[in-house]
């Protein structure tokens, strides 16, 4: 799995069988549409305009957020775009985080940074000012659970 190679910051892990690049890219590609269907979540991000990098450690996506909507999500490599903060995690971390009931210690974005399966860097102000927003945007299981409740 190329995404975990050559990165000394992450603990080596054996990726889960379904944690493939293709599955992950497909899941991320679906986030803007899921967000569009969650008006309460968009409302919470209504003052947020931000360029950030989100996704797998070695090939993150560039997310363009305007007024709480993700108007663009595209592979970041080679674009040379500026960004304010970046949250990148290992493939195995995303696969576990997105499960309905992740294992203890894999169930929160900051649990993943604590266990060194994710890296948070850059200017963290927009991330911290909208922390629950980002936790929910990046957890499709929560979109479904909360929209259904």
């Amino acid at each position: 799995m190329s995404a975990l190679q050559g990165n000394a910051c992450l603990k080596p892990m054996t990726p889960a069988p379904d944690a493939t690049d293709a599955a992950l890219i497909a899941a991320f590609a679906g986030i803007p549409k899921l967000l569009d269907q969650a008006p309460a979540l968009i409302f919470r991000g209504r003052f947020l305009d931000c360029e950030c990098r989100l996704g797998p450690t070695d090939h993150p996506f560039q997310a363009s957020i305007r007024g709480g909507r993700m108007i663009e999500l595209t592979p970041a490599s080679g674009l040379m775009r500026s960004w304010r903060f970046s949250y990148r995690a290992s493939l195995v971390a995303w696969a576990e985080y997105w499960k309905p009931a992740p294992r203890p210690g894999w169930h929160d974005l900051l649990a993943l940074t604590k266990r060194e399966q994710a890296i948070l860097e850059g200017d963290l102000q927009p991330f911290m000012a909208h922390l629950q927003y980002f936790k929910d945007v990046l957890a499709p299981r929560l979109h479904h659970a909360r929209m259904a409740s």
Binding site: D108, L110, K114, R115, M128, K135
Partner: protein, 292 residues
Amino acid sequence: MSAYIEPMVGRYVHVDIDGELHRIYFEESGAGLPLVCLHTAGSDGRQWRHLLADEELTGKFRIIAFDMPWHGKSNPPASWGGEEYRLTTARYTQTVRAFCGALGLEKPIVMGCSIGGRIVLNLAIDHAAEFRALIGLEAADFQAPWYDTSWLHRPDVHGGEVCAALVSGLIAPQSPEGSRRETLWAYMQSGPGVFKGDLYFYRVDGDLRGRVEGIDTRACPLYLLTGEYDFSCTPDDTLRTAAAIPGARVTIMEQLGHFPMSENPERFRRYIAPVLAEILRQSISTKQGEHV
């Protein structure tokens, strides 16, 4: 009148803490052995409302939950001039002992969660003889910090929102959505800088490494219970702490996180009821022994 009215009653007691009277709000319910409950950092005594309404437990225990000064309905003292709030080990210990003294509680059981769990360890170290039993939830002598507390109190980040969002990850994914939201609501309502000030005790002043070895569980039984989804005070933190205390009893609670009593009260009850029953049995057998 047909509406259900919960059994707990809330009142204010004036407590002398370090020479100054504090107006402390507390709720209580039941009769029997006094059981004083301590809330987590940046929250208040509402976290214990399910225990206070538990008819089986309140038939045997006088359950009391108070709001620490600066928290819930316990205002800052009259002398406060807006200085940065910082909880210290000494101040926290004084507050718990002064509250128990003000109510005239005879050898109460004290159960605290998170910072409340940490101060329970300090009570066990320095004041064990004053208590019937001590229960630390999500308690350890120390745990590794996982964020910069300066994010909790600054003008460009909403304090209530960020405090709640930070601790939201400490709740088990299995916990009911309504209970999760209620647990976080208290964090959203906390006064500016209060959660950060509580964490001064937790992160800086209250490091008990090297001191818990002195706890004598024969003088006062000690129970430690930690949720498996608590990545702040992890099960390993609690197990490491307990390993240094002969006689300490440890339970790792499945499908619970950092706020067991409020995030999933029903599940928490399965773990805490046997502990309280054991303390009750020990208390009865001790009393019978005194009369022999």
